[in-house]
């Protein structure tokens, strides 16, 4: 059985930001431990700014206690805002997420420019508590709010030629000061095989801890692919393109021998410069031991079949 089921979450295990996590929602969290997979979360007593309405998806949530809101929003790799972990929280204020346009193009029947509101409108939001494993050998547990990527992609009616999906981050050095230096080949590009993109675990996040995503976490919408290293989960998306050829993702372009296209979490294939066998779970204090990294980050039962017959050492 994969590591993230069944969900046995206790309200006391959740360490949310007090500012918005009121008593009613704690109750709802306790209720959500029940049998049903999707339970409506309680309405907040007063509408907090940025508060989202969503249901909890327990089927796809890990039972491990999530990291603090503080940690999730202050320890980020988002090179568009600087290369230190603390840079994005400091610098992402310059990003304007309204208005926001997403361009859909390539091998699909429905293409064009879409306002963020039109992208999001038809999708009911749900919360999923996912494990996140960074290629740098640390990890976090994060309660995302969003919807399955597949539901969004289907609206564009991809054709039979759509073998891959390519995503791009905004490129605007005025809003993203990190782009003034060519640390990576901007804009940031990521991609998935179409079957990976359509997998029910693959998620578009618009919120975290029940609230709208802070800029440093990839507002207004980002990808979350929990069985792959974090760099696959591209942030602040402005372009979705269906392609026949495998997209060239930024880290692969930067260092082809260190970062591949697939980037599946795999404890048996080391990064050339460090081991991927273990990970340091953030926020568990000084003397917390490193934990063993799980194949496909613990999601093997759901996704291993996507790669059957593939040499994962070659397609790293």
């Amino acid at each position: 059985m994969s590591k993230y089921r069944p969900r046995r979450i206790l309200p006391s295990e959740i360490t949310p930001p007090e500012v918005f996590f009121d008593r009613r929602r704690l109750l709802a969290a306790a209720l959500a431990g029940g049998a049903s997979a999707l339970l409506p979360a309680a309405e907040p007593s007063q509408a907090q700014p940025g508060q989202l309405r969503y249901t909890r998806n327990t089927r796809y949530s890990t039972s491990e206690p999530p990291n603090d809101y503080e940690d999730i929003t202050n320890y980020n790799n988002f090179y568009e805002f600087g290369t230190e972990k603390s840079d994005p929280a400091r610098n992402a204020g310059s990003l304007r997420t309204h208005p926001w346009t997403v361009t859909v193009s390539g091998e699909a029947e429905v293409t064009g420019q879409f306002a963020l509101e039109d992208i999001l409108k038809p999708h009911p939001l749900e919360e999923r508590i996912y494990r996140l494993r960074c290629v740098e050998a640390w990890s976090m547990i994060i309660p995302w709010v969003g919807f399955p990527l597949a539901d969004l992609l289907k609206r564009f009616k991809p054709t039979s030629k759509a073998k891959y999906v390519e995503f791009r981050t905004l490129h605007d050095p005025k809003q993203m000061p990190g782009q003034r230096f060519r640390v990576l080949d901007w804009p940031y590009v990521e991609g998935l095989r179409i079957d990976e993109a359509m997998h029910p675990l693959t998620f578009i996040a618009v919120g975290v801890y029940g609230r709208v995503l802070p800029n440093q976490n990839g507002a207004p919408l980002r990808l979350v692919v929990p069985w792959k290293y974090g760099f696959k989960s591209i942030k602040s998306i402005v372009s979705i393109r269906f392609t026949e050829k495998q997209p060239l993702n930024s880290w692969h372009v930067a260092q082809p021998d260190e970062y591949g296209f697939y980037a599946n979490v795999n404890p048996n294939v080391d990064h050339p410069r460090w081991s991927q066998a273990t990970e340091r779970l953030i926020g568990r204090g000084f003397f917390a031991k490193r934990q063993p990294t799980l194949m496909f980050n613990g999601y093997a039962e759901e996704v291993a079949h996507l790669y059957s017959g593939m040499d994962l050492r070659r397609y790293f």
Binding site: N67, D68, E70, D71, N74, Y75, Y79, T83, K85, S86, E136, W138, F181, V183, L184, W251, A254, Q255, R273, W274, S275, R280, I282, G283, G285, F286, F287, K289, R290
Partner: protein
């Protein structure tokens, strides 16, 4: 106050305090006092802070000689040993952080890292050199080793090169900072090359002038 007492009573204690400051701040951060904290990943924070401080102090140690010669402060050399030993102190903390806090004293993995991961092999070599230099930094050792002491302590250049190399190698994509360190090191080492060349040149000209000059005192 005489120069010797000024160094003993004022400059040395000040440098000691300055060199201890990063350590004090780390301890304050670890106990979350004085408004300090180590952020979401304290182990990484300590690892990076001690590594950077070790390298900073190593470069400052290498700055002493040029500063003496160019600034005309020959007594600065009295501060050099303290700077060098502090650099070793932070390097040792850095490696202990890795071995104890990060690896949880898993020596098998540490050994494997030293052998298998080139950036750690390089860092380990630098650490061994710094250890040898710190261990032979006492007056007694200086006397005992005599001329060999000088030779041994030239390894500080190797340690600095390996330190910068180790820094460079562990970076993922943003090499701006290690590049800056490499440039500073190049200036510090380049200065010595130029200086010793000039000194040799002067010495050669001096001997030439002596040997080719007409023997004036000869009868």
């Amino acid at each position: 106050m005489r120069v010797e007492s000024r160094y003993r009573l004022v400059y040395k204690p000040l440098v000691f305090l300055a060199c201890s400051a990063p350590f004090v701040l780390l301890v304050a951060g670890a106990f979350e006092v004085l408004g300090r904290d180590l952020g979401p990943d304290p182990v990484e924070y300590i690892l990076h802070s001690t590594g950077k401080t070790a390298l900073n102090l190593l470069l400052i140690t290498l700055l002493v000689t040029p500063a003496r010669q160019l600034g005309g402060w020959p007594h600065l050399v009295r501060l050099r040993r303290m700077l060098g030993v502090f650099s070793f102190f932070y390097a040792a903390l850095h490696v202990l952080t890795y071995a104890v806090l990060d690896l949880g004293l898993d020596f098998a993995t540490l050994g494997e890292d030293i052998v298998k991961r080139p950036y750690i092999t390089v860092g380990f070599t630098a650490l061994v050199i710094l250890l040898a230099l710190a261990a032979t930094s006492t007056n007694g050792m200086m006397r005992r080793l005599g001329r060999r002491w000088q030779k041994l302590h030239r390894l500080v250049y190797v340690a600095a090169i390996l330190g910068v190399w180790h820094f460079w190698w562990q970076v993922k994509a943003d090499i701006r900072e290690p590049l800056l360190y490499a440039a500073m090191l190049a200036v510090l080492l380049g200065y010595r090359v130029v200086r010793s060349r000039t000194a040799r040149e002067l010495a050669r000209r001096f001997t030439e002038a002596r040997t080719s000059a007409p023997p004036s005192e000869s009868p």
